[in-house]
Structures are given as C-alpha cells and as structure tokens.
C-alpha cells in the first residue's frame, strides 16, 4: 500500500472511493445545472451544495443505507443521492412537479424526504430536524433496533435553541445519533466570528456529554473516518457524537443571494482553492485510482443522466390545483 494511499487504511476499496467520487461529482453537476436552469428562468430557486459535497459524501458513506435514518438539511444533495434519490427525482423537485417524491411539488427543492429510503421529511426553519433525529434515536433505543440516526445542519444553525435542547436530550439518554455540522463559516452573510462565540463548534459537545470531533470538511476521507467512528460508538451503545466538518461554500447562499454584498474577491478566490471535488480528484489521480478513462466515463454518464432527468422533469405535469386540499389530515377511512 503506497504511502499516499489513505483510503485503504480506512478500509475503503478503490471501487468505494470511485463511487464516492462519482456521487460527489453527480451532486456538483446537478447543482450546476440547477443554477443554469434558474438563471434561464426555468426554476425559481436553488440552494447549493457546492463545496460541501466532500463532507456530505464522506459522512454518508460511513452510514448504513439499508438501516440508518437521516435528517439532512437543505445543502445535503450529496447525502440524499447516496441514500438513493435519483437525479430525476431531484429535478422533479427543482421543477416543482407532481412526481417529486419529497413533497409532490409542495416544497422548495432541497427539502428532502423519502420514507422508503429513511430520509426524514425536512422543512425550512433551521435546526428543527435535530430533535426529530433524537426522537428516532430514542425509538431505536426503546425498540432495541440497531440503526443509527444521522442529522446535519449548518454552523449558524447550531445557535438555535433546538440544537441545545436536542443534543442535551441525546446526551442524557446516550442515544445513537450523529449530529454533523457542515461549517462553511458563513450563515448567509454573517461570518462565523459574529455568529458563534466558541472557539470551535466541536467543543460544544462537552455541554452534552458527548464526543466532539472537528475534521477537514474539504476532505471526504477525513469525514468518512470521523463519522465511521461515531457510527461505531453509536452501535456500541457509547452514545451520540457531534462532528464539525470545516467546509467551504463555493456559491452564493442561494439563487436569491448576491454574495458580492458581503464577500471579498479574496475570500471567493480562497474558497475556490479549497474545492473539495478538485482536491479529491487530485488525490484519486495521485493514487492512480482515477484514470483518464474512468474520468471520461463518469463524466459522460453524469451528463446523460442529468440531461435525461432535466428533460423528463421539465415535461412532467404540475400537481393538479384540486389536490391542494389533500393530505392535511389522514384520509377518513384510515390511511
């Protein structure tokens, strides 16, 4: 095993890391396409995963996608792709079409949900998913099930009361839940030093009697390792973990935001230099896992996939107006 090769030490095969790369790149390319569609006036809104795919994929690959439950946040395109959402489904949601599995076109894109894949339905108010994840973890403990619950959120969102209340609950009951903070050091326009009074977010773990870890979120392998360890702890009854992945926001907050209002050219340049996708690409080339041939194949597969998905979604029907009344409550005769 070469000195350079880090993934084998983590028990990941070459195929594993190629899959990781593929999913990262798919997330990136879907996201890029959504921006184009937005700028072309075809979809009203995008909130981007760009720059955080490494953290997302590293974390997601450390989970058990046959058993675990996830409560992701709006940037987690990488996470939900690994949990089985298809490009077509993502595009259906971007176009607000009836077939969107997350919400039937009722929610903005990136408000993921799929019971079948154990993706817990999410909303827009930040951090509300964290107590939900703790509730799933409590259920696992009560019912003696061996799944782990994973939830993620942004750095700014760790300042919400729900973060504190939920993590304390998880800590008291030593529940199998992993809280993964994607710290891109911005909350819309507010930089981390005006947002968070602690040195790091990971140190907040001590307030909840849990393990706290800070990792390089631009490096999927580092994230994989940290989440894998947390997953093991959770399964071994050693309780919850808080993981802070220091990552990078490559784009504006959303398609409604103009980041020039608050981010300097310097800062933007620095962000570009930390592009997790390019860094992982270099690594995979360095260890001779990503050949030109594989690269091209992945690239063209992804293009086709996205083109087909976009075309399908664009043509798909909107929800019928009459359906607006559906599903406020369970249907009268049970569900």
């Amino acid at each position: 095993m070469s000195e350079l090769n880090r993934h084998e030490k983590l028990g990941l095969t070459d195929e594993d890391v190629i899959n990781m790369y593929k999913t990262m790149k798919l997330a990136r390319k879907i996201d890029e396409r959504m921006w184009l569609l937005n700028r072309a006036g075809k979809i009203p809104f995008v909130v981007s995963c760009q720059g955080q795919e490494g953290a997302q994929i590293g974390a997601a690959f450390a989970l058990n996608r046959e058993k675990d439950y996830i409560a992701p946040y709006y940037r987690d395109l990488g996470v939900v792709l690994h949990f089985g959402m298809t490009t077509q489904e993502i595009m259906l949601s971007a176009f607000a079409k009836a077939e969107d599995p997350s919400s039937g076109g009722r929610q903005m894109p990136s408000h993921f949900g799929s019971k079948e894949r154990r993706i817990i339905t999410g909303s827009s108010p930040v951090t509300t998913q964290v107590p939900h994840a703790v509730g799933f973890a409590l259920s696992a403990k009560m019912k003696g099930k061996d799944f782990v619950t994973f939830t993620s959120l942004g750095d700014g969102s760790t300042n919400q009361g729900d973060f504190h209340e939920a993590l304390n609950f998880a800590g008291v009951h030593q529940l199998p839940v992993i809280t993964f903070v994607e710290n891109n050091e911005l909350a819309i326009s507010v930089p981390i030093e005006e947002q968070i009074a602690s040195e790091t977010i990971a140190v907040r773990a001590e307030s909840y009697g849990m393990e706290g870890v800070r990792v390089d979120g631009n490096d999927p392998l580092a994230c994989y390792e940290a989440v894998k360890e947390a997953h093991n702890r959770a399964l071994n009854g050693e309780g919850p973990s808080l993981i802070e992945a220091v990552t990078t926001r490559l784009m504006a907050h959303s398609s409604d935001d103009n980041e020039k209002q608050y981010r300097t050219e310097e800062e933007l340049k620095h962000a570009k230099e930390n592009d997790c996708l390019l860094l992982f690409e270099s690594y995979l080339k360095e260890v001779s896992v990503l050949t030109d041939e594989i690269y091209d194949e992945i690239d063209s597969q992804i293009k086709t996939d996205i083109n087909e998905a976009t075309e399908y979604a664009e043509k798909a029907p909107y929800p019928d107006p009459s359906t607006i009344h559906d599903y406020v409550y369970a249907a009268e005769e049970g569900e």
């Binding site: 439950y69 409560a71 969107d100 599995p101 997350s102 919400s103 039937g104 009722r106 929610q107 408000h111 949900g113 799929s114 019971k115 817990i120 339905t121 909303s123 108010p125 509300t128 964290v130 107590p131 939900h132 994840a133 703790v134 509730g135 799933f136 973890a137 409590l138 259920s139 009560m142 019912k143 009361g161 729900d162 504190h164 209340e165 939920a166 304390n168 609950f169 008291v172 559906d326 599903y327 406020v328 409550y329 369970a330 049970g334 569900e335």
Partner: protein
Amino acid sequence: MQKTYIQAIRDAMYEEMQRDENVFVLGEDVGRKGGVFRATEGLYDEFGKERVIDTPLAESAIAGVGIGAAMYGLRPIAEMQFADFILPAVNQIVSEAAKIRYRSNNDWHCPITIRAPFGGGIAGALYHSQSIEALFASQPGLKIVIPSDPYDAKGLLKAAIRDEDPVLYFEHKRAYRLLKADLPEEDYIVPIGKAGVKREGEDVTVITYGLCVHFAKQAAEKLADQEGISTHILDLRTIYPLDKDSIIEAAKKTGKVLLITEDNKEGSVMSEVSAIIAEHCLFDLDAPIQRLAGPDVPAMPYAPTLEKEFIVDEAKIKQAIQDLAEF
C-alpha cells in the same frame, strides 16, 4: 365506577399503554413524581422509565423528540407541565407537527398527542391560568380537543392517542378533581371532530367548551327551574377544526346564540364560531350573536379579587342567558 376528570385522563393513558406497546409518555416530572398534578400517577411503576420518561426541562425538545418518535412509528404522549409553557414548543408544533403530512405529500405523518393543563380559577396567576388554545386554532394540520367532563376526557384522549395526526389535548386543571362521573368499564372513544349536545333546549343556544360547559349546565338548570328558560348547550369538544354542521344546527335551533369561552374575547375560538354562524345561518337568528368571555387583558391575575373578575362563572353565564332569552 366514579372517576374524576384527572383519573379519566390517567386511565386513558394507562389503558392505551396496555393496549399498544408503542404508546409512551414523556415530559417534565411525569415519571417518579407522577406529574405535578399526578395525571401520570402509577405509570412509571407499571411501565418503567423507558416508557414514562422524565425529560430535561426543555419543551421544544419534548415536542421535537416526540415528533421524531411519532414519525418513526411510535405513539408519544408529550406532557407540557402547564399550557402556558407550551410556548417554547410552538415552532415544533406549528412548523413541524402540523405540516409533516402535507409537506411530504402524505409520505410521512406524525401521530403525536400533546397534553397540557390549561385554565384558571386555582390562584395560578398570569402564567398558570392561561387558555392558550386560540394561538393554535388557525393551523391546519393540527387538531385541538378540550374535554368538558370525565367521560369525554377519557374518550377524547384515547381518540387522540389513536389518531394518525398530531392532536393537542388541553385539560382544564380546575376540572381535575371538581368533576366526577361514572365511566363505562368497556373501552370507548369520543370521536375527534364532533361536537356534542350536552343539554337540549328551545330558547337559547349556548356554545362553549371546557369547564364552561359545567357552569353552563348548572346555570341552565337554575334558569329552567327559576325562570322557565330552556337552554340548549353544545359542547364543541374539538375546537379545531370546528364541527361546522353541529354549530349551524345548534344555532338554528333557537335563533339566539350565546358563545362562551374562559379565554379573553378578541381573537378567541368563539370568533370563528360566530363567523361560521354569520356566514351560514344569519337569517335564522333572532338576536345578535353574543359572546361571554374573559376581559382582553394579558392573562388572569393572582389576587382573588382580580381572578374572580376575570373568570367566567355560573352567575355570569346565567345572567347572559337570561338577557339573551329576554331579547
């Protein structure tokens, strides 16, 4: 067997926990202590601390963790120690519980029951006397029930626990030991969404809920005996969404409607009841729609003079019915 209102509540939980092992209780002091009002008395001993969970002092977590468990497939009964202290959990209840089914297009749902003691008349002062139901009674996706007697208390709570959607269950703390009734031995529910006629009458229709039903019944008896006034009483039972048909029917019955709530008046649940009547059977009315309610002040004060001034009691109800009958 004679049961008080609070025993009926406790029995409903006990029986549902026996029936379905997915039912569990969480809240502050619900375990070892059995609840500050003792609504969960004995549950901890019977079902253990895994199913009767003393939580940290954090209402948003109580609701939010409960919501998570409900989405997983369990049947949490979350207790808010006082209805006044449900407010830190509003975001979880309104943004989350109420919208989970709708936002996921029926993929996920959230069968949680949230119990909270409300109401005044027990020297609870501003923050242990509130009627907080109006704050939630505009949020589709939620159901809100308020029992007026031990029979309904038990039946509505069972229905709430078995319901596939989030139900807020507000129980009147002054009713806890004041109201007693013989309850059936057999399992029963009182269906959510249906108001109940608690007294038949011809002259005046009273529409109300909660402990005011009790006072209205007492007032009605006296008025029947003393003044020959015959009062029809509709108990809303579910205050959101409202049972429009029953409201319209009750209003039409006498053409004179008195709406009563212990809550302050402006923006109360009774506003909507009035609007339903004004929309659907205006021409059946023989008098303006009257509302009897608490004064529009922030909450019920502590001093007995002020508490008495605030509270809707039998005497005030009697007077209001009589005035309306004479209109």
